[in-house]
């Protein structure tokens, strides 16, 4: 197989010195060149704003509104320059010889069209085969190729009847239906769970290698790159800073930026520190493997036996759909617990119940021995202060029309005991804790980057000096290097303030970087709980074991 591919290796698409600028003339892609070869996958890696999607879409001859092509060529295998074609000419190629898999399958499939019809549409538009029967056969074939059932009943399903992974496969099937030479994939697995992601990546890899398609895989996730790509191009601010075979780039990076990026990727083994501080909390060091190994022998697992937060038999259902099926756990003072689960496992719901944002649960949440009322409005001010919650998306959790200072002081306002001056002093202190300069106090969220916004949101949670901080997927919307700095910040804060933390995430790779204990949530139940190392090395439940095998690693 290998030799076959190497013989076949030929250029399918060659982008040379691509330059793209905004309508106002600001260049955002400064001469990007890359080559896509049949049967091989090139990963275009970069953080948000690096221009990776812009470069990927240029391969389809498409530029987003407000962007224009100002230089460079995209040559296809037959020597035509795609960018010299008219709009109509480009449209003829899209979906035919060059196809695209968008990021979010749920948004890109027409919800009012059966999936079979949607795939058939591609074939009809481009005039595949001689007859309707030929197209039908191709439809059945392509569904098998992407690992979906191809019977008539399945073809008649609606997009909403499929899971996220299946929807993405349908998206891939649409892109692959006309046997394209080039497939551009824009973060096709970002929204998927690790288990699903592993399967979709496998499908993509198979398609590319067995059908000699040239693949361009746009992503920010370096761990995924190592699974799927043959070559890697690392982008920074509109330039490719490093390009080469993927094992070479990932294991022997030459450019400083690539090294920094790789260092920021959390790894399951916890071999390196993401961020800068090597934090030690309680009796157990997090992160450092060697230290952890010695500490594990020497100290008991739970840092302090006194439990601060205890959750007992937490249940919640929406109608007949049970989201939480009885969750129990204890959290000690200064301890950090990771609540790990895939989407739909109920992890966010559980976190919100603890914070009092969901007040329809049964069971109990108690703080230092007192059982809390379900809703925040029924809890006392003191209780509200002691449990703080940080939201997933910093884009949505700060009011865009308020300054950072105004947002951060809301909790202080509500406690009502501080004067204007005191509030400002406390806000400044909180901003300082999250390493934001004092000048941020009068800025608005629109002027801040994602990482800075998340820091501001954390500052709002810290301003009342909580004893439990509940972090709901706080890094999932952020770039990997920003994620590293936020994780670093949370570790530092935990050491400084001695608060306990519940860290909700789907990213198992963060476990050793952050938590002393790990709870694995599946279908509204905790299936595995214990010290992080124990759970990762000796998982008790089959689900945890399955999860661990699917984690992409560098």
């Amino acid at each position: 197989m290998r030799t076959l591919i190497e013989q076949q290796t030929e250029v399918a698409l060659q982008a040379t010195d691509l330059r793209v600028a905004t309508a106002l003339g600001k260049e955002i892609l400064h001469g990007v060149s890359f080559t896509l070869q049949r049967g091989r996958m090139l990963a275009l890696v970069g953080e948000s704003g690096s221009g990776k999607t812009t470069a990927g879409l240029a391969c389809l001859g498409y530029f987003r509104t407000g962007l224009k092509h100002v230089g460079g060529t995209v040559e296809l295998s037959d020597g035509t320059d795609l960018l010299a074609l008219t709009d109509a000419g480009r449209r003829g190629l899209r979906g035919g010889s060059i196809s695209y898999v968008p990021q979010d399958p749920a948004l890109s499939l027409n919800p009012a069209m059966r999936i079979g019809t949607q795939i058939m549409e591609v074939l009809r538009v481009h005039g595949y085969g001689a007859s309707e029967q030929a197209r039908r056969n191709r439809l059945a074939e392509v569904l098998t190729d992407v690992g979906l059932p191809n019977d008539a009943a399945y073809q008649r399903r609606w997009p909403h009847e499929l899971s996220g992974g299946q929807q993405q496969r349908v998206g891939i099937a649409m892109a692959f239906a006309f046997r394209p030479e080039v497939m551009v994939m824009d973060e096709p697995t970002t929204g998927l769970d690790v288990t699903t992601q592993a399967l979709v990546l496998q499908t993509i890899h198979q398609l590319v290698t067995t059908h000699a398609v040239a693949g361009l895989y746009i992503t920010h996730d370096l761990a995924v790159v190592s699974e799927v790509a043959d070559e890697v191009a690392v982008m920074l601010a509109g330039r490719i800073v490093e390009q080469g075979r993927s094992d070479q780039v990932l294991h022997d990076p030459q450019h400083a930026y690539t090294r920094k990026l790789l260092n920021a990727v959390p790894d399951l083994a916890g071999r390196h520190h993401i961020g800068e501080v090597e934090a030690v909390t309680g009796a157990m060091p997090i992160v450092s493997r060697e230290r952890a190994a010695s500490a594990r022998v020497a100290t008991p697992v739970v840092a302090e036996p006194t439990s601060l937060l205890s959750v007992a038999d937490l249940r919640l259902s929406y109608g007949t759909n049970a989201v939480l099926n009885g969750i129990d756990f204890e959290l000690g003072r200064g301890e950090s617990l990771m609540l790990l689960g895939e989407s739909g496992s109920g992890k966010t719901t559980a976190a919100r119940c603890i914070a009092g944002l969901n007040d329809t649960y049964t069971g109990s949440v108690s703080l230092a021995g007192t059982t809390l009322q379900p809703g925040t409005r029924q809890r006392s001010a003191e209780e509200r202060h002691r449990i703080q919650y940080v939201f997933q998306s910093p884009m949505s959790s700060l009011n865009p029309r308020r300054t950072i200072g105004e947002s951060v002081e809301v909790p202080l306002h509500m406690s009502g005991t501080f004067s204007r001056k005191e509030r400002r002093a406390l806000v400044l202190e909180a901003l300082d804790q999250v390493q934001l300069a004092a000048s941020f106090i009068d800025r608005r969220p629109g002027q801040l980057s994602g990482g800075e916004r998340q820091r501001a949101a954390i500052a709002r949670a810290l301003v009342n000096a909580p004893s439990v901080l509940v972090c709901d997927e706080v890094t999932s919307a952020l770039d990997v290097s920003v994620q590293a700095s936020i994780i670093d910040l949370l570790r530092t804060l935990q050491v400084e303030t001695g608060m306990a933390m519940v860290f909700v995430t789907h990213n198992i790779a963060l476990a050793r970087h952050l938590s002393q204990r790990l709870a694995v949530l599946h279908a509204g139940r905790i299936v595995d709980i214990g010290p992080t190392d124990d759970v990762l090395e000796n998982p008790q439940h089959s689900y945890t074991r399955e999860l661990l095998t699917h984690v992409p690693t560098l």
Partner: protein, 290 residues
């Protein structure tokens, strides 16, 4: 914190809403047109006897004669004086009616969106009932019952605007209410009225501004129509709507009595519509930037 420093790009601050509005040519034209009419309506009454020699109700001579600049009206009053004196009440009443409608509609819409459930149902179905009645018919009914006073006109026009404004507010607010910063305020037990006022309202000003402009235009038209029908301003008050009605019988002989107020109302409506469109476009770009 080296990681952040490099990752942070200076994010360009988009120009403020006001500047984006004024940048558009339509907005400039609209502002000039509206400005002229508002100026005439506001300054006119102040200059009256001094500029034309007559107050707006004083008899200047025989009816429908070409005396003075624009001649006399059906009772022999100076048309220019009537015109200069007749705009202010219209504008003030229209502004009051619009303001009333905005307050009622915004409050009802935000409340419906935020509370949801039964209250949402009650408010919005109540809205539908009001919407089922044509605005002018409702106004005619109320004025017939309560008499043609100024406050009745303002109240009626304001109330009939409210359901339409409530609809727009509700849909704009329900998008904002799903945002996490509302959850955050709830988590800190911020009083609900404060959440509506400080978190929801500032984030829906775009569509509300558009609605404000639109309803202002409609108010002007509705009040002028009521006056024309004899149910708004009562003679001998000088009023543009009333002037059109009084003088239309002599349109061929002495057209100025109709043309001046018609022109003023038309310019005002077109002008305020242009501004409204500009506001709509400007606030739409905000959504894109977000």
């Amino acid at each position: 914190m080296t990681t952040i420093d490099t990752a942070t790009e200076a994010i360009a601050v988009p120009p403020g809403l006001l500047r984006r509005i004024i940048r558009q040519r339509q907005a400039k034209i609209g502002l000039v047109l509206t400005g002229i009419v508002v100026l005439v309506a506001v300054v006119g009454p102040l200059l009256l006897p001094w500029l034309t020699g007559y107050t707006s109700t004083e008899f200047a001579g025989r009816p429908f004669q070409p005396d003075g600049v624009f001649g006399t009206d059906n009772l022999g009053r100076d048309i220019l004086s009537r015109f200069l004196g007749g705009g202010l009440t219209l504008l003030v009443f229209a502004a009051l009616a619009t303001a009333l409608g905005m307050v009622l509609g915004t409050a009802a819409g935000m409340l419906a969106a935020y509370q949801g459930g039964a209250l949402d149902g009650i408010i919005m179905r109540g809205n539908d009932v009001l919407l089922a009645l044509p605005q002018l018919v409702f106004a005619l009914l109320a004025i017939t019952v309560l008499g043609p006073q100024g406050w009745v006109v303002v109240l009626v026009i304001g109330i009939t605007h409210a359901p339409r404004i409530a609809r727009v507010t509700r849909s704009a607010a329900s998008a904002v209410i799903t945002e996490d910063f509302i959850r955050a305020s709830e988590m800190y037990a911020v009083p609900r009225w404060k959440i509506l006022l400080k978190d929801v309202l500032p984030n829906i000003t775009g569509p509300l501004m558009v609605e404000l402009g639109l309803r202002m235009t409609y108010s002007i038209a509705a009040i002028a129509s009521l006056s024309f029908l004899g149910l708004g301003m009562q003679p001998p008050t000088a009023d543009w709507g009333l002037m059109i009605n009084e003088n239309r019988i002599a349109l061929t002989v002495q057209p100025w009595g109709v043309i001046l107020p018609v022109l003023a109302i038309a310019i005002l409506t077109v002008g305020s519509n242009l501004i409204t469109d500009a506001v709509a476009r400007a606030s739409a770009t905000v959504e894109e930037n977000k």
